[in-house]
Symmetry: C2
Subunit: 361 residues, 2 copies
């Protein structure tokens, strides 16, 4: 049997309807759906349609406000703090990044810290919003604590991603969008389900000893920062993850580190809070605030050519520019349609049934 493929536009409409059904305005529902579909298209399906059910459950549990009033609570010419009013992260995220872009248009750069938000999908989406304005876009967020600082067994940090998008002239943009851990939580879960071991350097057991068993995460174990162990630079990965956490929480007054609220309803609300909700941080930098835009972009083309023409290692056919794999996936899925894993399709069927929204699968 041929596997079902979905047109991205179809999934966008369907998902928008679901979020409108639970109370979101059309614009807000569209924001949520758009970022989820973008994740699917860019082959980050861990941040894609699988989240529809999680968000839906968070709404059912009363842990997301579907009619938020996103407010600017403090600002200067180049900065602002946005309160997301417990809404979906995409609503906070888009409003915040738009504001960063507006501020950059006036003062050269714009920096917006957000609090009282929720899971916002792929950080790269917001960073890329800057590109059409000839700006460099930056976005970071903290996330559920799963990761231990170097020399510790405490799950005090998230897989805290960072994204940086840089416009080029004739080349496609440079888009780095990566978690600050060697591997995503989702991939460890898959390995565990299959009963497979993982390479050393991804997780440690409850004593902080090296482990190749992903199931240690359910027995007091923790994920490791980029670098894996101290000898291989895990303390640098810890620095990076910590910086992302601080930017995501301290500037806005959101929860940091171990106090970041869960993004799924099956994990309990934490007893202690040190701020408001989940936090993000957004930046936009007008390239012509530094150099003429054409000159910057032509130079970026040269950067990209240089690195794309680097000599591949033996057995490799080419050297990638950050953003290449995602862009190629996007082109392919737009042409061929998106595949969803059966479990996600089943979840969507259930939600379709509960909401009375038609789902053609």
């Amino acid at each position: 049997m041929e596997e079902k493929r979905f047109r991205p536009e179809y999934l966008l409409d369907f998902t928008t309807e679901i979020f409108m059904h639970i109370g979101c305005s059309r614009a807000d529902a569209d924001a949520v759906a758009r970022v989820l579909i973008a994740a699917e298209l860019r082959d980050h399906s861990s941040h894609g349609m699988i989240r529809v059910k999680e968000y839906y459950e968070m709404w059912k549990a009363g842990r997301v406000n579907t009619v938020p009033v996103v407010k600017v609570v403090h600002e200067t010419p180049s900065t602002a703090v946005v309160d997301g009013d417990r809404g979906f992260g995409m609503v906070t995220g888009m409003a915040s990044m738009k504001l960063a872009i507006e501020k950059a248009a006036v003062t050269g750069t714009g920096w917006v810290a957000a609090r009282n938000s929720n899971h916002f999908g792929i950080a790269g989406y917001y960073a890329m919003m800057a590109l059409e304005h000839d700006m460099v876009g930056i976005c970071v967020t903290n996330a559920n604590p799963l990761v231990a600082p170097t020399w510790s067994v405490s799950r005090y940090l998230g897989t805290n991603p960072l994204a940086v998008a840089v416009p080029a002239l004739n080349e496609p943009p440079f888009v780095a969008d990566f978690a600050s851990t060697p591997i995503a939580r989702g991939k460890l879960a898959v390995a565990e389900k299959k009963g497979e071991k993982v390479p050393f350097g991804f997780v440690q057991d409850g004593d902080g000893m090296p482990s190749d068993d992903p199931s240690v995460l359910r027995r007091g174990g923790s994920m490791l920062t980029l670098g894996g162990d101290r000898e291989h630079g895990s303390h640098k990965g810890y620095c990076l993850t910590a910086v992302v956490d601080i930017f995501s929480s301290l500037f806005s007054g959101a929860n940091f580190g171990p106090f970041v609220p869960p993004s799924v309803a099956y994990l309990p609300v934490l007893d202690k809070k040190v701020g408001e909700g989940t936090g993000h941080f957004f930046g936009a930098m007008r390239i012509d605030a530094f150099r003429p835009a054409e000159e910057f972009k032509a130079s970026m083309d040269e950067w990209i050519h240089t690195f794309r023409n680097a000599e591949p290692s033996k057995g490799q056919s080419r050297v990638l520019i950050p953003g290449d794999p995602e862009r190629e996936a996007e082109e392919k899925y737009k042409r061929e349609g998106l595949k969803l894993v059966p479990a996600v399709v089943e979840d969507l069927k259930i939600i379709a049934g509960e909401t009375g929204i038609e789902f053609i699968f």
Copy 2:
């Protein structure tokens, strides 16, 4: 025989005199000396007094301008581009960071890109300049190409460091200052001299195959990005190193990647250039541009307490906050004096002889 220790103030005066002797103004010579001594105090001796000879040789070779006129060539309310006029990196660096701080005081944040500069010592020095102004400081620089992108054998990137300094209230500040490779070049050189192997994940051979032999760097090999290999996230390390390179060069029009000029006179000037000299990037963010400063700093204290009280792994006694080891080293060396390795003392004796400056060793 007891090992000689130097008072930091003595080395500062001596080093300042050397740089004045080769033409620097007192202020510029003081800037160079101050950043080198700070590196020694913070136990980053690879960026400390060992550089005096290298800088001196660069001057002899006519590759550094000791009487630079550092100029702002472009600016907006929150940004500027500085041309270092081929001077020592510390001169460009201090002027640029001061300007970033001034801009932040007015518009909330300040971002300064520098070109036509040289090696500037430890990035952390500039980031920390922001702290006394209740600002977060950021500094990155690119460096001599030694590092290969993931899946490549081309030495196209430097060990590109990044530094972020965040003020706290009663706690000492958070200061992350780290190269974006698992290990420093200097440590590989030491292992090679001793004929020792290194762990896999630091270097690869000329075919891009894993190696534990640091001498491969002299036979077409290259250093690896943080993560080590693709499986362990080297592509994320590549993203990070690339972002630092782009920020250091593209905003100002300095050389990027493989075209970053050598910081030592024994390596030839490159045939091709794609910009002006070495580049850096500096940022200052007023914390009260986001939240009341006391509130931000009290929250940062809580962040630091939380992470310092994380549970240590078995066999470890404590969990560190970025900046702890350097601060403790600084306290110790200020009390006990600085040790210099014999080869560095010998170099300083030679320079003292050539310049006629007294050196008491």
